[in-house]
């Protein structure tokens, strides 16, 4: 079904004809693809012999996010990051694949990609690189959601809690 949308962008009125079905298929595809990417990244860290260590990244200097990264370097905070990154990647991947708390999972995915992208010292691959597109993919999922399509968010949105607290939908698909 084609949906006719009237919208105002940069002060001017525009129209957009959007196919609901195509949008649904594409967002489901995007969700599963990005979900598998992060699930695989997380599982891979568990499968690799030896514990995952993020110290090399947290100790980076000369990046625009170094002050934040360095604040977590060493001690208990680094140990926490070493645990949180693999488990976070697995949870983000599962959230996207299952369509559960989709916007929240995508937000955390975007946050991780933010630090990966801006944690670049010399930008040898340029400003337009794979990390930027990973970040943009997560933000696209934050914007469009789509956790309802073959996803658990469809059920969560029908619960009394969400009906009584409609703002929770910002965390769902």
């Amino acid at each position: 079904m084609l949906h006719h949308l009237d919208l105002r962008v940069l002060g001017r009125q525009w129209t957009l004809d959007l196919s609901g079905e195509l949008t649904g298929y594409w967002l489901l595809f995007l969700r599963l693809l990005v979900g598998w990417w992060f699930l695989h990244e997380g599982l891979n860290k568990y499968a690799t012999p030896g514990p995952f260590r993020a110290g090399w990244f947290l100790e980076k200097t000369g990046t625009i996010v170094s002050p934040v990264l360095n604040a977590f370097a060493g001690g208990a905070t680094e140990a926490a990051v070493n645990v949180l990154i693999p488990i976070g990647e697995v949870l983000i991947g599962l959230g996207l694949i299952l369509g559960c708390l989709l916007r929240l999972a995508s937000f955390f995915g975007a946050s991780m990609m933010f630090f990966l992208y801006f944690g670049e010292e010399s930008w040898r691959r340029g400003l337009v690189n794979g990390d930027l597109f990973g970040l943009v993919l997560f933000l696209t999922l934050v914007v469009f959601g789509a956790g309802r399509i073959w996803g658990i968010d469809a059920r969560i949105e029908r619960t009394t809690f969400v009906e009584n607290h409609p703002w929770v939908r910002y965390l769902l698909g």
Partner: protein
């Protein structure tokens, strides 16, 4: 979603324009200027030295700050939308 979720006023439009605009300026606009008047790439291979970072008119760090500020504006706007929905 309730109407309040899809209502966009001038503040929302300004936040989206500034946030997305800064990202586009940092990546695309300065990237075009760099390509047209500076260097296509940040790095260059020099015999005996290896790959070195080429500093042209616009430093990658300056551009990265612009992009980061744009994303922070979008994050702030998103947080504001959630807070507004909670209060409503």
């Amino acid at each position: 979603m309730p109407t309040s979720f899809s209502t966009y006023d001038r503040f929302d439009a300004a936040a989206l324009t500034i946030g997305l605009g800064l990202v586009l300026v940092g990546v695309a606009v300065i990237g075009f200027l760099e390509t047209a008047f500076g260097s296509l790439h940040f790095t260059r291979s020099i015999d005996g030295v290896g790959v070195v970072v080429v500093h042209t008119s616009f430093t990658p760090h300056g551009r990265a700050y612009l992009v980061a500020v744009g994303l922070v504006v979008l994050f702030g706007w998103g947080s504001y939308r959630i807070c507004r929905a909670i209060v409503a």
